[in-house]
Symmetry: C2
């Protein structure tokens, strides 16, 4: 949202993901400035690992933020400035939204910086 | 991607999420048809719970599919037609991608169909 960032670089799992899917109301209503501020504020929190955020022309958006621990997720949810944004979001910005808190167990992927073109896997220990 | 679907309606957690974030290469190269086909095929698989998918004008996309169990996630990853799409994706469609398999533990949200405007929480049992 804030800038054309690419994908988040996260450490080996396990870690936590907060999957925020939403459908915007019409009009900006201060949304863009808040979204940029919240991404910046999130990045300053303890345990923050990264964020990925996309919204399409229909106003449907998915933002996934990554956190080192469940405590870090809880602290971010309880952050005072973030709470104000959450309340305004419910009232003004989102016609509909869902927040899912999930524990990341395995990661596969390919990034330009990684060797080879085959997918790399990081299976969790069993 | 296939149609302007809204947010996924998923059951109470726990369940599984596959978070697929990617950056497209330039040009379609058969991507749109494959993406539509894969969403349709996913929806036919055992344990499928829903999908949310957004791609912005810069070619960055997030698709989150939801599954009833880790076995359902594994079976979808191993699906023959899906494997061909995965291989073509690595070769043709994605400049960069990450797939994260995560266990959804808690959900908060507001949908038009739900009562009230306050967020509803489904804390997991402890």
């Amino acid at each position: 949202m804030a800038d054309p960032v690419s994908l988040a670089r996260t450490p080996e799992p396990p870690y936590w993901a907060v999957i925020f899917t939403s459908r915007r109301t019409d009009g900006d209503r201060g949304y863009a400035a808040m979204a940029e501020r919240m991404e910046r504020l999130a990045a300053e929190q303890p345990g923050y690992l990264g964020i990925e955020s996309v919204r399409d022309a229909d106003g449907v958006g998915i933002t996934v933020s990554y956190w080192a621990s469940e405590d870090a997720v809880r602290a971010w949810k309880a952050n005072a400035e973030h709470r104000i944004a959450q309340e305004t979001g419910r009232r003004e910005w989102y016609a509909e939204y869902t927040i899912r808190v999930a524990r990341v167990e395995r990661v596969y992927g390919r990034a330009p910086g990684r060797a080879g073109t085959a997918a790399t896997a990081t299976p969790r220990s069993r």
